[in-house]
Amino acid sequence: MKLKRLSMHNFMPYKGDAVLEFPQDESRNTLIVFGDNMRGKTSLLNAIRWTFYEYAYGRHLRQIPLHLLPNREAVNEGARVMETRIEFEANGSQYDLRRVATMKNLVAKPERPEDIQVDTYMQKDGAAIPGNEIDAEINQFAPEQVSRFFLFDGELLQEYEELLIEGSEQGKEIKKEIEKVLGVPALTNGRDHIKTILKQAQKQQSIDAGKIKGLEGAAERHQQWVAKRESFENDLVKLQSLLDNARNSRLTLDDELEKVEKIYSQKSKLDSSRSRGKEIEEEIKQKTSLRQQLVGQTWRDLLEPRLILKRESLLQEQQRFNDLNKERNRIQLRIEQTMQYLANLICPTCSQSLEASKREAKEMELEQLKFQLHGLGADDSRLTDIALQIRALNKVIGHGVGDRLSDVDKDLARFEFDLSKIENQIEELQEEIKEFDTDAIMKMRSRRDGVLKDEARLNADVDDRKSKIDDADKEIRILSQRMQPDESYRGARGTQMADMCEKLYASFSLSIERLREALRQSVETQASKAFKAMSTQTAYQGLRINDNYGLTILDQNGSEVLLRSAGAEQIVALSLIAGLSHAGRPAGPVVMDTPFGRLDTKHRKNILGYLPNSASQLILFVHDGEIRGSDDLNVLAHRIGGQYEIKEISPTHSVLVQR
């Protein structure tokens, strides 16, 4: 298949007409469309999706409602039609596929999907194909079920990680998708369809056997088991439907909870801001009270210079008293020594008797000392008074009320600022979550937990019915074998049909396992080849595949690399895609939206060098950050068959410009 042209009219941001011509030269099979985020790269992918399958995806692969697809600006200006068209070549024929969305009469502005009517037209080699055959025609070369492998959303890359998680629901779904692209449904459906025919044949077998003499008893038991199995199967259908509903409800709730997770985090921020706000208010209260106390003491700072002088003078006076006391003590000591000297009349140094003249001199000295001591006087009450005054002054002086007041004022200003910041934050957070009922979110969580329990119970019930169906199958087979010796039984048409179906069923069952094994090997080989071409780490041996088609990197010793970077994940995912396209079927066009987001320069170059060889046409929708400058483009230069740029005219109007 080869894409020729995509034409759009009023589709999403493409107001009016926009055309993308795809490269036709096989040696220059790559088309690059550059566009900043929010300009309309994904809308181009959606235009292709919508033309082929009549749906478009938004973020997280949620379907965009039909009434949101027509260009808003055009609708406001009175446009009533949106159209997309793809011209392509497939299986040697020329196709022209158009999807036209028209606003219904009396609808001024579409507000719900029902306001728009969609018509699809397809021409094959110039001849119109009836509407009811269009989907089947598309299925021949671009089945919707496998479209994720050629209409490729960069956002999907991380999904392939799920394949490595044992028992992951999402992994199982992706595995199914992978098996679709590999052609496994032809065998799995075949097995199931044969089983349906086999069951009909077994019913006939019971009826036929009931008519044969001698087999009535066995035929009756056979019939009972066939009826039992049918009843178990009906149960299983009901349980499976309940399980699907429960799973869908749970997934919807999970999605909703994921969306409101931010609200939760904002709510807890709000709670913590509120509590911090209260703390700050309390601190402001305490500081304000302290400030009032300090203001009441500011007189101290006014009197302090005088009081300091007074204290200085008192301290000096105290010092003088202390010096005087020391002098008195010294004289008192000398008086005592002199008196002792005179009383003993012996020299305290040489222990000799004193002469009369020396004794008189000592007596004179004693008199003088007594006179001196008397002259010094003693006012102990004054000294006590000075000490009391100094103590009182110390209590008042040196508190620095002014400094403390200034500190408190600074603290208060800071607290006021913090409080106002917190109040703004609280206001913003309240605004952000005002439309969300946090109690409802709690209820949603508890509902999800309930559904999860239901799902587990239903899973167990489904397993139980499956096991009962297996038991019934065995019983039916045993009874049939018991009746086999009877020639009439063997010759009955029901028996012959059942035998044939049993053999076909066994063949299909065995072939499915063998095909899966062969495909796994083939995908592993092809993906490893792609990985080696794209990875910059030459020491890696390749990739190993698991039962779910999940791929792990093997290091130089053949051991699995357990931790891998986001970039490595992307390369492994791209390798899987390349492996699938080579293993399943010959390469067709591949359209990739923003596929290189997490890659470094070297890997980007390797991948850009590799990808054009893995598809018949490679269409890349990228932003400047993904393919940078001439360096990256040089790798691709000889394969580029066209380049476009998305230019913004207004937030709701983009145009495609050829580069």
Partner: protein, 68 residues
Amino acid sequence: MIDTIKDMALEALLDAAREEAPDLPTELIKAIYQVEKIHQFSPEDKAAIDALQKLIDEELSNFQRGNQ
């Protein structure tokens, strides 16, 4: 997008049938597979089952005619 399908699936089915249903003709297996291949992405089963039923009926009739 798909141009032609590499028939690893048919090969696997024919191999398995050689072991599980050696007396069934290869043409029948191939015809059944073709029906399933055409209908593999069809949203409903009836058309495929009817086509298979027809093939099996025809084969059975041929077999019974041969026996007679």
